[in-house]
């Protein structure tokens, strides 16, 4: 009995000690903090990395396309980080949930006018489409169609292990090789760039998708990609203006790539468009059942197809395309293939339904249109496809947008291009006297007409996204303003320095349209042409020049800065759009190009430290270092390159 009581007492003591130990160790656990995956966005990727590391986080992937990084940060430092950067969760996301199987009859290439264009020799040849999905399988119908591929998942290679990407690839550019031409994609002459962002379980994350979209931006330059398809539901709670994925997709769009996204499969109720299909700038496709006939009249809007308007009140979808019981490519052994054996058609094909599929058909139609009319920009492609779409009795604007896509009608449209939103009213722009309409820059076609109007459209979106980003990052409440003012000013100073410099230096001789072609902005050219020591030392960096042109005390004094830049009035959305971001110099194309050169343009380059004349002299241009490098250069020249 005594032994028993002693034993019980020991047990109780042990429990109490363990409890006390737990209490004493708990704060230590709390101090380390749970690590969370986030996207951190700053003025650019370099500054985002710096801010991440400042709060003890680690950078997992650089995402210059949104001026940020994919990072892992202690949860208990998130609030601190969010005071100096824009932070969003690196949330998991997935491909749209499709259904596989159904009727065998399929007529989509006829219905969207593809066969009519094929007859005229327009097959999509010369157009490259980026597919950001689950990769593609090595199947006969895609032989020779994939010009480049990439894999940002943890899986070993870019092969499709899920089965979605291969199906999508077949809808866009399948050649019908395994069916003697019976099952052919919409643009069988088009080529693909496949970027795998999801593995065998079909799941991905915001960070992975951003990395994939970033590669599309690179592919636009390296491989002249003109169309991109991204069939995911990002489940973003954010409006497009605040959503990093939307920013990245808008950047790609502004680089000349038509971005096609699905309306989502959450219909038939209103306000069921998924993100990024909600983004007004992108081309969002809903789904119709083509009823197995080439005629459009008998089409019915798919019950599952997401209905507009969006949560933010924008009209969507833009148009619709066949998306039910489509036959396309099977990825043998993939997850979808294994789970839906009954959906197989012959050996090489598969049946599927969903707005992913209607978006793929739309991407194929865009490729055909660009094959026929390669001079079109993304806004024009969107406008033409919408203007020539065919309405159906079963649908309305909230379910089918402008109607069912008709590639042949779009390619043959010979009227004036449909109206697009006018450019914003720029007003007087005394901040950048060397730019704006009528100053001899740009293409000289005036403002509000033709190309200019369409280009401004992209600019406007970019302006909105940047303005929103600035606001979101700082949350200008009275109580935190004082604390954040310095950081905010630093950030803005860097951006203004960049803009100011660029606006002045590049005006007149640099800003012609031709020179702003995407290739102009490869990092190599930039580096070679702009950052050579000779140029900077001989022409740009004399004290007089610097003082006179860039850093006049008047412009950059704190008072002036506060008065001119930071007044509440100026930071309103309208002011921002009209005054700061309206000029064509700062179109999305240039901003993003600069971000791709982010390493060179990082905050570090523009920080006060680097830009102070003393620092510059002391650190960079000492005669000793310069002569030493010259000497090394000569040594290199003698030795030759390996």
């Amino acid at each position: 009995m005594t032994l028993h009581r002693d034993g019980k007492a020991r047990t109780v003591t042990a429990v109490v000690v363990a409890f006390l130990l737990a209490l004493t160790t708990a704060p230590a656990v709390e101090a380390v903090g749970r690590l969370v995956d986030v996207i951190v966005i700053g003025a650019d990727a370099g500054s985002a990395a710096e801010m991440t590391e400042r709060v003890g986080g680690s950078v997992e992937r650089s995402l210059p396309i949104v001026g940020g990084v994919d990072a892992r940060v202690p949860e208990n430092r998130l609030e601190q980080l969010s005071r100096i950067a824009y932070v969003v969760p690196d949330r998991p996301m997935g491909l749209l949930s499709e259904s596989y199987g159904g009727s065998l009859v399929t007529a989509y290439p006829h219905e969207v006018g593809a066969t009519a264009l094929w007859a005229g020799g327009i097959t999509g040849e010369g157009v490259r489409v980026a597919l950001v999905d689950t990769g593609v399988a090595d199947v006969p119908d895609l032989a020779g169609r994939v010009v480049a591929s990439a894999n940002v998942t943890r899986e070993d290679d870019a092969t499709d292990t899920y089965g979605h990407g291969t199906f999508q690839a077949g809808l866009i550019a399948g050649t019908g090789a395994a069916s003697d031409g019976r099952y052919v994609g919409v643009a069988p002459g088009a080529e693909l760039v496949s970027i795998k962002v999801a593995g065998a379980d079909g799941s991905t994350s915001l960070g992975q998708v951003l990395a994939g979209v970033q590669l599309v931006d690179m592919a636009a330059e390296l491989y002249d990609v003109r169309v991109m398809l991204l069939a995911i539901d990002s489940q973003s709670p954010l409006p497009p203006d605040l959503d990093p994925l939307s920013w990245a997709l808008r950047t790609v769009w502004s680089h000349g790539v038509v971005v096609v996204v699905p309306a989502g499969n959450d219909g038939p109720d209103e306000v069921t468009i998924t993100s990024p299909g909600e983004d007004p700038m992108l081309l969002t496709a809903g789904s119709v059942d083509d009823m197995g006939t080439p005629e459009v009249d008998d089409d019915l809007v798919s019950e599952f197809s997401g209905r507009g308007p969006t949560r933010w009140g924008d009209p969507k979808p833009d148009l619709a395309a066949p998306g039910e019981h489509l036959v396309s490519l099977r990825a043998p052994g993939s997850t979808v293939d294994a789970e839906n054996a009954s959906a197989r058609v012959e050996d090489a094909y598969f049946k599927g339904s969903g707005t992913s599929m209607s978006a793929a058909v739309t991407a194929g139609a865009a490729a055909l249109l660009l094959s026929a009319r390669p001079e079109l920009n993304p806004d024009e492609v969107k406008a033409l496809l919408m203007a020539t779409a065919t309405g159906i009795a079963d649908g309305d604007a909230a379910s089918m947008g402008a109607g069912v896509v008709e590639a042949a009608a779009a390619a043959g449209f010979d009227g004036d291009l449909p109206e697009l939103p006018d450019a914003p009213d720029l007003g007087d722009d005394d901040m950048f006297p060397g730019r704006g309409p009528g100053n001899g820059q740009g293409n000289g076609q005036g403002n509000g007409q033709g190309w200019d109007a369409r280009r401004w459209d992209a600019d406007e979106w970019n302006a909105r996204q940047w303005a929103a980003r600035q606001w979101a990052a700082r949350q200008w409440t009275e109580d935190v303003w004082g604390a954040r003012q310095w950081a905010a000013r630093q950030w803005a100073a860097r951006q203004w320095a960049a803009r100011q410099w660029a606006a002045r230096q590049w005006s007149a001789r640099q800003w012609s349209d031709e020179r702003w072609a995407a290739r102009q902005w490869t990092a190599r050219q930039w580096a070679a042409r702009q950052w050579t020591a000779r140029q900077w030392s001989a022409r740009q960096w004399s004290d007089d020049e610097w003082a006179a042109r860039q850093w006049s005390a008047r412009q950059w004094s704190d008072d002036e800065w506060t008065a001119r830049q930071w007044s509440a009035r100026q930071w309103s959305d309208d002011e921002w759009t009209a005054r700061q971001w309206s000029a064509r110099q700062w179109s999305a194309r240039q901003w993003s190009a600069r971000q791709w050169s982010a390493r060179q343009w990082s905050a570090r380059q523009w920080s006060a430290r680097q830009w102070s004349a003393d620092e510059w002299t002391a650190r960079q241009w000492s005669a000793r270092q310069w002569s030493a490098r010259q000497w090394l250069g000569r040594q290199w020249a003698d030795a030759g390159w390996g």
């Binding site: 370099g46 390296l222 491989y223 990092a523 003698d638 390159w641 390996g642």
Partner: protein
Amino acid sequence: MSRPRIFVVDDNAPTRTLIHDTLELEGYEVLSLSDGRALIAALERMTPELVILDVMMPRMDGFEVLKTMRNDERTRYIPVLMLTALDDPSSTWKGWSGGCDYYMNKPFDTEDLLAVVGNLLAGVPA
């Protein structure tokens, strides 16, 4: 505060020496290696803040080295600057899609190299 450590991998001795001396003059701690396998071996013992990687090398080329680094949890996040004479789209794509942090072509200007290195080391005190 210790100096940022950079591994330079290039099979061409004069190029390697040029990069080494340029970086050392700038105040970085530099370890030069002549091929990819030597780098992989060095990464077993030390973690640099940056790797500067040639592509065309015997035994193990730069793309293969990059893939090995990105597949290893210990080296997955080390910034890699690829420095190569291969300037065609396919090679450039291979570098970027393989996860390099910057793709730079030879011949290069040493000032450009230092600017890129400085930015890749953002957050690391010099």
